[in-house]
Amino acid sequence: MSQFTSGSLTGKNLHLAFGSNKVLRGIDIHVEKGTAASVIGPSGSGKSTLLRVMNRLIEPDQGDILLDGRSVLKDNPDELRRRIGMVFQQFNLFPHKSVGENVAFALRKLRKLPKDQAWAEALDQLDKVGLKHKAGVRPATLSGGQQQRVAIARALAMKPEVMFFDEATSALDPELVKGVLALMSDLASDGMTMVVVTHEMGFSRNVSNQVVFMDGGVVVENGSPDQLFTEPKTERLQKFLSDVL
């Protein structure tokens, strides 16, 4: 039983170019409601850009984005982004606000909750990531792993229908990676729709329902973890897997 009101997410024939540099060249991706898709591939393959295009931080040149089966390209992009939580490699917590305020801020300003209620809900979210006792301190005093958990709480507090993770563990010290991955696994098993750009092949293989392998701005292979990891069809994926595993 899902704890979240999550939705499915589809990208259709997404194209994006920066000048002559074609970053996305016709991406098709579909993430079923309540499932986790991991996006893997070499650096510069367009994985992180794909996330930013699907929440319209960058507008695609061509193609369509559907949330729960409905095109969102005509919607107000700010409102779309409230429905899609995003977690970054560098956490990007607001350093001038306390940990609690990092979570409560958008609740007050965007979900228009009264101050007390926003704070109570922020504490509740922080409790879920085990950091309620840090609500009063500045993010800089936390470890990387703790900061990333706060960033996840901040995104979840908006009650998103989909969560994006952009290499969420790449900036963490090895011993801190586990805690964040465990939290992400919990989210996946609780039924959150997730798109996870990652270099963590263990997570990709064991937690995600679907693996998307990108290279050079296109989806080269797409299927179940078993398919991709045990029977890679293309030479490109075979080479990638032999490089990273």
Binding site: R81, G85, K109
Partner: protein
């Protein structure tokens, strides 16, 4: 009289210092503060406008800010004060009847301060990591609210020390309004010291003025350092034991 006692008399004649103190206290100090504070406030306001123009998406706004900044940062303060003070004085007098050089002195100081303060704000805002804007936008804030609530406040905080330095510079530069010719009650610390020194052929009144300036600027300098420290570390937190091992700047005391 030997050389030492002559020098002591030239710079530290307590009689002259005692004579000049009441005047400095009664209006000299206040005039200096009024000049610095007024031009500091106006300069800050104009500086924010210039900074926002400087980072605007509109190329005309960026150019106007650029040209303004180049001009007012590139000229000697005394030249700007003279040109504006003497040049616009008659016009101001005709239009408003104001004879005091203060409004134009403040205007000249403000215009120059704005050029520096604008650059301080602009560099501060632009030094904020772009991930901050991205994170705020990813939460669902628009570009404007993200800049206003997340990026600009961080930029301004990190330049507060530089801003205080600018205010210290204004306290010192306010002395240049003497070039516009001040009436007796309009004199600020420097002009009062200068007049007493000239009348008595003794530099002690200027030393008194110097002490006044230092009494204003030194506490501010230390306030800057305090703010700087506080901004870097936030409120006093419980330190992890290993943090003491690598405090930048403490190496010299080890």
């Amino acid at each position: 009289m030997d050389a030492w006692s002559r020098l002591a008399d030239t710079f530290l004649n307590w009689g002259y210092i005692a004579e000049v103190l009441p005047t400095m206290f009664s209006y000299g100090l206040l005039n200096t503060i009024v000049l610095a504070l007024a031009s500091g406030l106006i300069g800050t306001f104009l500086g924010i406008v210039l900074a926002l123009m400087g980072i605007s998406r509109n190329p005309v706004a960026r150019w106007v800010a650029r040209i303004y900044t180049d001009i007012f940062r590139g000229l000697p303060a005394v030249l700007v004060i003279l040109v504006i003070g003497l040049g616009f004085g008659p016009l101001l007098n005709e239009l408003t009847g104001i004879r005091s050089p203060y409004p134009l002195g403040i205007a000249a100081l403000s215009l120059m301060a704005a050029a520096y303060i604008g650059e301080i704000f602009r560099s501060g805002i632009q030094s904020v990591d772009k991930g901050q804007l991205e994170a705020s936008r990813a939460l669902g804030f628009g570009y404007g609210p993200s800049m206003r609530m997340i990026v600009v406040p961080q930029g301004i905080r990190r330049v507060l020390p530089a801003l205080m330095n600018q205010f210290i510079a204004l306290i010192k530069e306010s002395s240049l309004v003497f070039t516009l010719g001040l009436m007796s009650r309009e004199r600020e610390l420097f002009q009062i010291g200068q007049d007493f020194a000239a009348n008595n052929g003794n530099q002690s009144p200027l030393v008194a003025a110097a002490i006044f300036y230092l009494a204003l600027t030194i506490p501010l300098t230390h306030l800057v350092n305090y703010i700087d420290n506080r901004l870097r570390t936030g409120k006093e937190q419980k330190h992890e034991p290993d943090e003491a091992a690598a405090v930048i700047g403490k190496g010299a005391h080890a």
